[in-house]
Symmetry: C2
Subunit: 332 residues, 2 copies
Amino acid sequence: MKKKRLSVEEYVKGVLNGDRVTLSRAITLIESTLSNDKKMAEKVMESILPFSGKSIRIGVTGVPGVGKSTFIENFGKLLVDMGYKLAVLAIDPSSQKTHGSILGDKTRMESLASDKRAYIRPSPAGGALGGVSAKTREAMILCEAAGFNVVLIETVGVGQSEIAVKGMVDFFLLLMLAGAGDELQGIKKGIIEMCDALVINKADGENIDAAKRAKREYSNALHLFQAKENGWFPKVMVCSSLKKTGLEEIWKMIEEYWLKMSQNGFFENNRQEQRANWMHEHIRYLLESRFYQDELIKEKIQHMLPDIKSGQQSSIAKARELVDLFMKTQSE
Amino acid sequence: MKKKRLSVEEYVKGVLNGDRVTLSRAITLIESTLSNDKKMAEKVMESILPFSGKSIRIGVTGVPGVGKSTFIENFGKLLVDMGYKLAVLAIDPSSQKTHGSILGDKTRMESLASDKRAYIRPSPAGGALGGVSAKTREAMILCEAAGFNVVLIETVGVGQSEIAVKGMVDFFLLLMLAGAGDELQGIKKGIIEMCDALVINKADGENIDAAKRAKREYSNALHLFQAKENGWFPKVMVCSSLKKTGLEEIWKMIEEYWLKMSQNGFFENNRQEQRANWMHEHIRYLLESRFYQDELIKEKIQHMLPDIKSGQQSSIAKARELVDLFMKTQSE
C-alpha cells in the first residue's frame, strides 16, 4: 500500500511532536532528489529551523573494525539511562551503492535500536558535491526539532565526510585501536588533527597494557601536532565498549568541554560560523550541481577531458568556455 | 614613459625566446584583473601551454623566520651551478596589502637575483576564491615555456596557499626549525601531512644537536602519521642554508623522488590529475567569483548574514534564493 503523501504542515507538526514515523519520513523527504520533494523539504526545514539547535552534536569516527557500533550502542545506552534523548545518524559511503540503507544497521545496534529513547538513522553519503554535508546536517536539525538533545553522527574515518561532519558538530571524537603496529596508520591525514578527543577502544583483557601504551604515544603525538584556537587540549582516553568501562569518563569529558566552550563563547561562536559556512557551502553546491548536471556541459566535459589531462588543451581556457556556455544557456 | 602594449604574438614569442623582460610583462598580464587583459592572458596561456611542463616543480614552505630566503638563495645557487635554469615564485599573503610586490624580495635573495641563470618573481596572493592557485600556476607555466627547468614555489606555511601549491607541484618540501619547544607548533594542521620532505634548517653551530634530535622526533612523528599512495616515504633531513651543508643531499633526494615517481608512473599520473583538477578549480572559481561579484548578490548577503548566523533564517533556503536570483539576473 502506498503511503499517503504528507503536507508540509503535517511534516512539521509530526516532527515537532516527536513522532518517530513522521521524523523518518521527513528525513526521507530531505534526502529525495526529486525536484518537488526538494521544494517541500526546504519549506519543512524553514519551519523547523527555529526549533532546532538545542542538542550537543558529537561526531564519532574511526576505521572499520574499531568497534564504532558497540561503542555507540553502549555509550548511547549510558546517555539514555541518564535521561538524554539520543539520535544517531550514520554516514556510510558504501550506502550509495546499496540505495541509502546500511545493511544490518538495526542489528548492529540492537539494544539501542529497540530503545524508545533513542533514534537511529543511516544517512546516505549522497555522492559528491557536498551531499553528505547538506543531507546529514538537515537530518540532524530534524532530530533536534523532534526533541533529541544529543546527536551522534557516525562516519567511517576514511574519507572526506569527516571534514564535512567536523563543520556541523560541537565535538569530534576519534575512536582508535591499540597494538596494530603503526598506531595511526589507516586514518586519513588530517583527521587526527581535527579531533577534540581520541579514544582508544577495546581496552580490555590482554589489550589493556597496549591501550595504555597507545594512550601515551598518542598523547605525545597530539601534543606535537595540536594547538586549538578555543583553548581546548585534545584528550586521549581509553575505554572498552564491550566491558562498558571508560564510557562515563568520556561523557564527563564532553560535559567539561561543553561547559568550558559555553563559558568562553566558543560554543555559540562556532555554531554561528557553521551557519554562515553552511550557506556558503550550499551556494557552492547549488552553483556546481546546476553546472555539472547540465546535459550540454556534461557532454562537453567528457569530450574535452582527455586533451585537458594530456595538456594539449588549456585547463583555464576550457573552464572559461564552459562557464560562459553555461551562463548563456541559463538565459535561453 | 608608458610602455608600448605588446600583442599576443609578441608575448608568446618573447616568452618562448626566454626573454626575461617579456616574461615579467606576461606574468603581470596574467595577474591583471582588467577584463581585456584577462582575455589576452588567456590567449597567451593557450599558445604557450604546449611548451610548458618540462621542469620539476618544487613547493617550499615554512613559517617566517625559518630561513626560507637563505635556503632558496643557496639551494638555488647550487642548482644553477649544476646547470639548471631556476625560476623562483614567491607567494606572500601580505603582498595583497603592498600591491603585489614583496618588499625587499630582490635584496632577500641578492646573489640569486643578480644571477642570469635564475629568475625571481613575487606572486601576489590575489585574494580569496582560488586566486593564488590560478595566478601562480600560470606564472609557473610561463616560466617553463621560457626555458626554466626547475621551478621553486615559495609559500609562508601558515595558510591555505599550501594546499593550492601542493596541487600544482611535483614535490613538496617543508622547512622547519629545531629547538623551539613544541617542534611542530605554528605550522598549520595538515601541512606536515602533505610534505614529501621535512628539512630542519639552521643545523649549524650550537644548533646541530638540537637539529639531530628534532630529526629523530619528526621521523617518529611522520612514521606515525604518513602513508603515501605513491610508495614514497617522506624524508626528514637537516641542513644549514647559511653554512651550505646538507643542500646537495636534499637535491639528491629530490632526484631520487623524481626517478622513482617517473618509473612508477606517479609523476605523469599526478600531473594529469592536476590538469583535470585545475579545470574543475577554475570552473568553481569562475562560478563563485561571478556570483560573489554580482552587486545585487553582495547587497543581499550583507543584509541577511546576521539572521543566518543567529539561525533565524535558514542557510539553505537563503542559499537557494540567492542562486535562483543570480541565475535570473544572468538572463536579463
